[in-house]
């Protein structure tokens, strides 16, 4: 199923390649991709990709392993995105 990942990142060279490679290695095809630069180095990525339940969880954890990823919100099934209650996971790095 399609999943939406909202990712808070540092906008640094090579970041997009690292993020993309995680989806590629998990065979989770990216369906859409949105990048928005913020203040300073902060930026926001919104990625929609095909991933089943366990794979989505693994993707989220692998994204969190990247040094320049600060937080990942896995917004669940893209088809239900219009429903606010579908937002179920927010993970922030522990110090």
């Amino acid at each position: 199923m399609e999943q939406i990942f909202d990712i808070t990142v540092n906008d640094v060279p090579g970041l997009l390649a690292r993020v993309e490679s995680i989806f590629r290695r998990q065979r989770a095809p990216i369906r859409s991709f949105f990048f928005e630069a913020g203040e300073g180095r902060a930026a926001h990525l919104t990625i929609t990709a095909y991933a089943e339940g366990d794979a989505a969880n693994l993707l989220r954890k692998q994204l969190m392993r990247l040094v320049d990823v600060h937080a990942v919100t896995d917004s669940g099934d893209a088809r239900a995105f219009a429903q606010p209650e579908s937002l179920f996971t927010f993970i922030e790095k522990r110090a």
Binding site: R18, S21, R25, A95
Partner: protein, 575 residues
């Protein structure tokens, strides 16, 4: 130390000099590298630094040497290469370090900034190429950021789950002048587990009937060996170690059932498969451990302790996930755990041990590789050597017969299985631990992948012991063709040089053993050499296969527990 490396306040220096000073400040004693045009500003700075540079004969060797240094000392190893091919040659070593969670700081020089992206001479996108095989990498474009990046690189390589990092520095960045002052190193606090999860895990351990401690390399990385010993002795739970975990728990201890996995002891695999609770600490349920996942340990619940949250539940569902540093988590867990009743479980394990012990039969005039390894272990065990292996049959026999009682004394390429790892890793280990006997167990195929490292070892007068077990071929590939490809042998036979003479040509000492009764004396002669490397060329039985074994991807039930020539009943079914 030269005055240029002791600035008291902000000093105006070349960035390359600041980088060298940062390396000194990080405690770097050795760098394994190979120079080239783009790296010359840094090499010029290193000339005055109190760091020993080992001139490797290939950058892959430099990366493996840095791994060996890191694994023997627990501190990040450093490798250095120039731009383009120098940098790309590091990649295998970085991938190896990534899979085996080894802290390595790779420094690569890059072409000058105006040439970046212009296909300049010796330009390669090393950032893009190494992104998948490093924890993180940096291309430093602002000279002022170079010292801070070096500090961050060392912090990141060694913190959390250790791993390789790479700092790529253009030549003109190295040559630029910057304002520099020595910075403080930020320390990372160990990650502790959630207390509720801990209590649930402790209850499960205290009430298990057939528990097993499954100990991986993460225990060594986190320095948790003492905690694992305390847990095992408090609970009398059998302990099995992975290839990377060898030494994390004393293998000569009565609670140890040895290494598990495709070539592990039959009884460790049966115990794992028959257990009702697996306590995995710093281990990742590799496919060489689980075999066919659907049939692996079907009745077991899992307590999984790991610093890397990605590993928890990645392969096998964790019923009791404990995300945190292994040492910190075990310290939290120990007071909460009671001893389960494992008397019946131990009776079963002892019966399995009696049924399929690890053994070989040294008969006749041809040396069995197991005998060669076992003999050297018996001869040197009191010297507490550090052993490195290469990859192949000899690696698995070493894992079986070289019993390790101490962490950091068995250094091998586990995850990537990189032929050519062993000799440069031994060189790095010897640099990091000059007080210890370092032995490299090698095969004839793998030795020839990085044997030019002998030149570096001779230059540095390192008293390495290199044992080349020569079975005239790529033994593990041959074994697979023997067992799974109807004995259709192809591209596995090697026509080898005289390795003793080759060693002498490099300036090392060379010895040869052809008969079992020669081995001990030849080993003693090699051990007596203290001013240069000593190589022992051991001619071994070419057709010997390594058992136990199960076919890749198959269930542990399909394991061939012993060499069929020793026993007719080779297939056991346990679950």
């Amino acid at each position: 130390m030269s005055a240029r490396f002791q600035p008291r306040e902000k000093t105006r220096v070349r960035a390359a000099n600041a980088m060298a000073a940062e390396l000194v400040a990080q405690g770097v004693t050795h760098i394994f590298g190979h120079p080239g045009g783009a790296a010359l500003p840094l090499y010029d700075a290193l000339l005055s630094a109190p760091i020993t540079h080992l001139l490797m004969r290939h950058e892959q060797c430099a990366a493996h040497a840095a791994q060996g240094y890191a694994r023997a000392t627990g501190r990040p190893g450093v490798c250095l290469a120039t731009s383009g091919p120098g940098a790309t040659n590091l990649i295998t070593g970085l991938a190896d370090a990534m899979l085996d969670s080894t802290p390595v700081v790779a420094i690569t020089a890059q072409v000058a900034m105006p040439l970046l992206g212009r296909d300049g001479f010796q330009e390669a996108d090393i950032l893009g190429m190494t992104a998948p095989v490093t924890k993180h990498n940096w291309l430093v474009l602002d000279p002022q950021e170079l010292p801070g990046t070096v500090r961050e690189a060392f912090r990141l390589a060694a913190s959390g789950r250790p791993g390789p990092v790479l700092v790529d520095v253009p030549r003109d960045v190295l040559q630029a002048e910057i304002e520099w002052e020595e910075g403080a190193q930020a320390a990372s606090l160990p990650l502790r587990a959630d207390p509720v999860g801990l209590r649930r895990a402790a209850f499960a351990i205290s009430n298990a009937k057939r528990p097993i401690l499954y100990v991986g390399g993460g225990v060594i990385s986190s320095g948790a060996s003492a905690e694992v010993r305390r847990l095992a002795r408090k609970t009398r739970i059998p302990v099995t170690t992975t290839l990377m975990g060898k030494g994390a728990y004393p293998e000569t201890d009565a609670l140890s059932v040895g290494m598990l996995g495709m070539h592990g002891t039959a009884y460790a695999n049966w115990a794992m498969n028959g257990s009702d609770l697996i306590i995995a600490v710093g281990a990742r349920f590799d496919d060489r451990i689980t075999g066919k996942l659907a049939t692996f340990a079907p009745h077991a619940k899992v307590v999984h302790v790991d610093i890397d949250e990605v590993e928890i539940g990645k392969i096998r569902k964790a019923d009791f996930p404990l995300h945190g540093d292994a040492r910190a988590v075990l310290q939290q867990l120990l007071p909460l755990v009671g001893a389960p009743d494992t008397a019946d479980w131990w009776k079963q394990i002892e019966a399995w041990k009696a049924e399929a012990p690890l053994r070989y039969r040294q008969e006749g005039d041809v040396i069995l590789p197991q005998f060669a390894i076992d003999s050297l272990w018996r001869l040197t065990r009191d010297l507490r050597p550090i052993v490195t292996t290469d990859v192949g049959q000899h690696q698995m026999w070493a894992a079986q017969f070289w019993k390790c009682d101490e962490p950091g004394t068995f250094i091998t390429s586990g995850g990537l299985g990189t032929m050519g790892f062993g000799l440069p890793a031994a060189l790095g280990a010897q640099c990091g631990r000059p007080d210890r006997l370092v032995i490299n167990l090698n095969g004839d195929g793998s030795f020839q992948q990085t044997m030019q490292t002998l030149a570096t070892a001779v230059e540095a007068r390192l008293p390495l012991k290199i044992i080349v077990l020569d079975n005239q071929g790529l033994g593990m590939v041959r074994q697979w063709q023997d067992l799974f490809y109807d004995r259709r042998f192809f591209s596995v036979a090697l026509r080898n040089p005289d390795f003793a003479k080759l060693a002498e040509a490099f300036g090392a000492a060379g010895f040869t053993a052809r008969r079992p009764d020669e081995l001990d004396e030849v080993y003693r002669q090699a051990l007596a050499v203290t001013d240069r490397p000593a190589l022992v060329h051991v001619h071994t039985e070419p057709t010997e296969n390594c058992f136990p074994m199960w076919p890749a991807g198959q269930s542990i039930d399909t394991m061939i527990a012993e060499d069929p020539k020793y026993t007719a009943k080779s297939t056991k079914k346990k679950s």
